[in-house]
């Protein structure tokens, strides 16, 4: 088969064409992406510092227990003077997730809707935002579950190291693979706003699509990295100038997924 005739190459060229025809929507997505970064930084600086403070206060009391090689630390977190700190920390982490979820649905929901408009995939905004919010509840629960597993296994590893200092951290690469797999499933689900979309895309086309997106991202990363020693203002400008690549990746994915599932 001719390379230019393959779905992956043809849709990439058409995505670029679609972006050229809708510069206002592309700018809107870039603006929303920038706003999302600012929102995350702002929320993290406010809530993240409180979370860090409570984690430090808990760690100050847990560290001597760890040093003594005590077990049953999870139960001890909900006893005595540690209990109010742990409850506060859990409430703060919960609120942090909720705030990030709201910001994500509002800003990224709009960004993905604009991208689907650029990709000529018709949806009403109301229907799109509702579906996007529902879908992301599932992804948030899965993300929180993997994160909890990460924290739980990390604590166990710290304890195991007290008894066997050369013990291998087996859970760390498994958790990383789980996060990457979740990222891929989430990314592919946004094409048609269906959770199990990754199961319905032919394997070769799905792998090709992901490879193309990764290559596009790495090319931009390499270009941005060339300016790593430049002045802060120039680095920021270059990063903003290359933000449309994320619009291209979104538009391209939506077009390919809709094409192979049509």
């Amino acid at each position: 088969m001719n390379l230019a005739e393959s779905v992956l190459v043809r849709e990439l060229l058409r995505s670029l064409d679609c972006m050229k025809k809708n510069p206002v929507f592309v700018l809107a997505v870039v603006g929303l992406d920038l706003l999302f970064v600012i929102f995350c930084t702002f929320i993290y600086s406010l809530v993240g510092n409180q979370i860090a403070a409570h984690a430090v206060l808990i760690a100050n009391q847990v560290s001597p227990m760890l040093a003594q090689g005590q077990t049953g630390l999870l139960a001890k977190l909900f006893q005595g003077s540690l209990q109010p700190l742990t409850v506060k920390l859990l409430v703060l982490v919960g609120l942090f997730f909720v705030l990030l979820y709201v910001g994500y649905v509002v800003l990224q929901g709009l960004a993905w809707w604009f991208s689907s408009q650029v990709a000529q995939s018709a949806h009403s905004l109301r229907k799109y935002v509702v579906l996007f919010a529902k879908l992301n509840v599932l992804w948030l629960v899965l993300f929180a579950f993997i994160k909890l597993l990460d924290v739980f296994l990390g604590l166990r590893y710290q304890l195991i190291r007290k008894f066997a200092p050369s013990a291998l951290n087996v859970s760390a690469p498994i958790i990383t693979v789980l996060f990457v797999a979740l990222g891929i499933v989430v990314f592919l689900s946004y094409g048609r706003l269906r959770a199990r979309e990754f199961l319905k895309i032919p394997f070769l086309q799905g792998s090709g699509l992901l490879a193309m997106c990764v290559i596009l991202f790495l090319v931009v990363w390499a270009i941005v990295d060339l300016f790593s020693t430049a002045r802060f203002e120039l680095r920021l400008l270059v990063q903003i100038l290359f933000l449309p690549i994320f619009v291209l990746i979104r538009v391209y994915m939506i077009r390919v997924v809709n094409h192979v599932r049509a």
Partner: protein
Amino acid sequence: MEKGDWKIVVILAIVLLLAVLLAVNLGRLFSTPVATDVVRQVVNAT
């Protein structure tokens, strides 16, 4: 964009604003003298 879409954008903007307001006040709601001191140390360390 359709005519009715602007209403949804305004509602989403209000929701986002409320989330920011909650985040701003969260620090006050949860801060205790000890935690505030630790926050200062964490911020200084980073």
